[in-house]
């Protein structure tokens, strides 16, 4: 959140930000900002605030955001296509370097048409070979839930250590792999809870 706010301030050409301003931009209070940043060893300068560029670089370094992360999308249906089209990746340090689908014939033409340039879609059996060649760090699973574990096993065999799972399936990985699940229904549960508690 701080990294994103600081990026916006940088884009606007600002050099310095007070904790009050940063708090307001981030939707928290100034005491929280000072506490959070102190945790990372950042204390700002009394009467001045924080140097935006320095603070932004420090936070990005801590979060691993100052390097390129190379990603593969597995499953090029509607969700996979929308991720391929997701323009916000371009602004950040995430790069989709490969796309995989079992249905090569049905998908390639449609996706290329939507994206406006030819898109190469590979069979998931080639994951291991391509992961090594293209140095893939993160695999995004956007297949049907029934395929999720099967695909996960291929990702593990390809030694891709980061997995973003968009299916509702609970996937199993060995130690040393990082899985982040994006369950739409869990996100909705959260909205429902907030609505429910406001009504009381």
């Amino acid at each position: 959140m701080y990294a994103r706010c600081l990026e916006e301030l940088e884009d606007r050409g600002e050099a310095v930000v007070s904790s009050a301003q940063l708090a307001s931009d981030c939707g928290v209070n100034a005491a929280q900002v000072r506490k959070d940043l102190a945790y990372f060893g950042e204390f700002g300068i009394r009467g001045v605030g924080y140097y935006i560029k320095d603070l932004s670089d420090d936070i990005k370094g801590i979060l691993g955001l100052n390097r390129e992360w190379r990603m593969a999308i597995i499953g090029v249906g509607n969700l996979g296509t929308s991720l391929l089209l997701y323009k916000d990746f371009l602004k950040k340090n995430y790069k989709i370097v490969a796309a995989f689908d079992v249905d090569l014939s049905g998908v390639v033409g449609k996706v290329s048409e939507k994206i406006g340039k030819p898109v190469e879609i590979l069979h998931p059996d080639r994951l291991k070979e391509v992961a090594k060649q293209r140095k893939i760090d993160i695999a995004i699973i956007a297949t049907p839930a029934s395929e999720a574990q099967n695909v996960t096993d291929k990702i593990v065999a390809a030694n891709i250590k980061g997995i973003l799972n968009f299916t509702p399936a609970q996937i199993k990985v060995p130690r040393g792999y990082t899985v982040k699940n994006v369950y739409f229904t869990t996100i909705l549960d959260n909205v429902a809870y907030l609505l429910q508690s406001k009504r009381k």
Copy 2:
């Protein structure tokens, strides 16, 4: 998380679960389970565990998951279509009751074909009228980011109190509205951070 684990246990026909078993299913430790559930006034029965049905009902009541939530999708591109197709909604208490897009001619046929039945897609200008008729609780924004605030203003005018924003735009709403943002890049930042910290 507990609600989901308990639902799976119910589906398997279990009646009682120990905190150790529940902890293992949820990927936390047993002390955490006891602490979390005690917070909701649930203490289980010594030597027995928790009655799954009762605990599940209680948690669902607290979270607002024991009622139907009626949703509208605004923006029926790839992401909107994938949400319309997302089968996991059917298992839960979320129901998509309307879909909106400015591009009526281009979208209806394609989406209907994918979904396998005729889908009625309405112009966003009709949001207020339809929200009242169909009792919409939650609006899902799946438009381009440039349209997000414009669409949000229509949602607010239609008095839909819950908003799930899938665009990277920061949207502004009056007090009393609940917004949950799903930024793919923020989710990826989280994966990147976890990968980065494991490498150190």
